[in-house]
């Protein structure tokens, strides 16, 4: 555990190299992940972070005091989306977060939704 801050190994660890990601997810692949989590699924915390939690889980609970998308969580944690999806799935399983459903447009979106987006854009 001697720190050697500039060598390749620690660089890989700090920047989300495979070893660090393996540890964060406990080595789980897609099996630990709910299939309905999308980049723009909004996540909201329903409980406070607990001291014994894995740091990444605690971070998600703290940053999702207000709704936050999966993509934003990935950006702030500097972790790949698939890793965040596993972490959020863990929190969903213990009911410490809830997710707000993504609008899944099967084909062409609903005209009323499109009108709302247009109205919002026109105000920019």
């Amino acid at each position: 555990m001697t720190p050697s801050p500039i060598n390749d190994a620690s660089n890989s660890w700090e920047q989300g190299g495979p070893e660090r990601l393996y540890v964060i997810t406990g080595g789980r692949g897609a099996s630990g992940r709910r299939a309905d989590l999308d980049l723009v699924t909004l996540v909201v915390a329903r409980a406070a972070a607990r001291p014994e939690m894995q740091p990444e889980h605690a971070s998600i609970l703290r940053m999702c005091h207000y709704p936050l998308s999966m993509a934003e969580i990935s950006a702030y944690l500097k972790l790949p989306f698939s890793v965040v999806a596993i972490l959020v799935s863990d929190l969903l399983a213990e009911s410490t977060v809830e997710v707000r459903a993504t609008v899944r447009t099967a084909g062409i979106p609903d005209p009323e939704l499109l009108k709302a987006v247009m109205y919002g854009l026109q105000k920019l």
């Binding site: 801050p5 980049l39 999702c64 702030y76 890793v83 979106p109 987006v117 919002g120």
Partner: protein, 214 residues
């Protein structure tokens, strides 16, 4: 220097937080080649400084034929910049700028499947880079418009010429855009929304629906 713990105390600043009432999020994908101005466009209209999400090729490569056999230690990280526009108290629009290569699109679950539509951002000096993207969006049934980013040092081409060069369907809108300008980038998104709206009205008419979506 010990950033391990402080690094984890991260998240949006108070002004970058969404209202508690935010309930629905939609997305638009901005597709284009390297350096075409995707992030510039996203940044011009975003209410937050553009953020970056990333994915590693190995994490979701299981079952995807063309990357099968890639070893975990050879993980390749691919980044995607994105921004956000709060439409109203409940509805949030996200804009993702993604590379044109299709192999990246599978990295993020439902990047296109759940999107309202796409803006193909093109540089007239490198039109050939857009052929693949346009073909793949057509094949995937993703509605899109084409926006020609006006680079100061690029020769100006009439949009009709660009349309012909791209062999674009006559129904697909093509617009000029200055990705650096908030108003121009907003108008580009509005052009996409108007096109989607026209498609949604058409698909509400029973006979026109199958031709538009198949």
């Amino acid at each position: 220097m010990d950033s391990r713990s402080s690094e984890l105390a991260v998240g949006p600043t108070r002004e970058d937080a969404l209202p508690a009432s935010a309930a629905t999020a939609v997305k638009i994908v901005v597709v284009g080649g390297f350096g075409v101005g995707k992030t510039t466009l996203v940044g011009s209209v975003s209410e937050i400084r553009p953020l970056t999400t990333e994915e590693t090729m190995t994490e979701v490569s299981v079952g995807v034929d063309d990357v099968r056999g890639v070893e975990q230690k050879n993980a390749t990280t691919v980044a995607m910049d994105f921004g956000r526009i709060s439409i109203n108290e409940e509805l949030v629009l996200y804009l993702f700028g993604t590379p044109g290569q299709q192999r990246f699109w599978f990295l993020w679950t439902g990047l296109f499947e759940g999107a309202l539509g796409a803006v193909v951002l093109v540089d007239t000096r490198r039109l050939e880079a857009s052929f693949d993207v346009i073909g793949r969006l057509e094949d995937g049934g993703v509605p899109f418009i084409v926006a020609v980013n006006a680079f100061p040092d690029a020769p100006a081409h009439p949009l009709d010429q660009v349309r012909a060069a791209l062999d674009l369907s006559p129904t697909v809108p093509i617009v000029e855009c200055d990705a650096r300008s908030r108003a121009s980038s907003r108008d580009t998104l509005l052009a996409l929304m108007r096109y989607l709206y026209s498609l949604s009205i058409q698909s509400a008419a029973p006979m026109a629906a199958s031709a538009a979506t198949e």
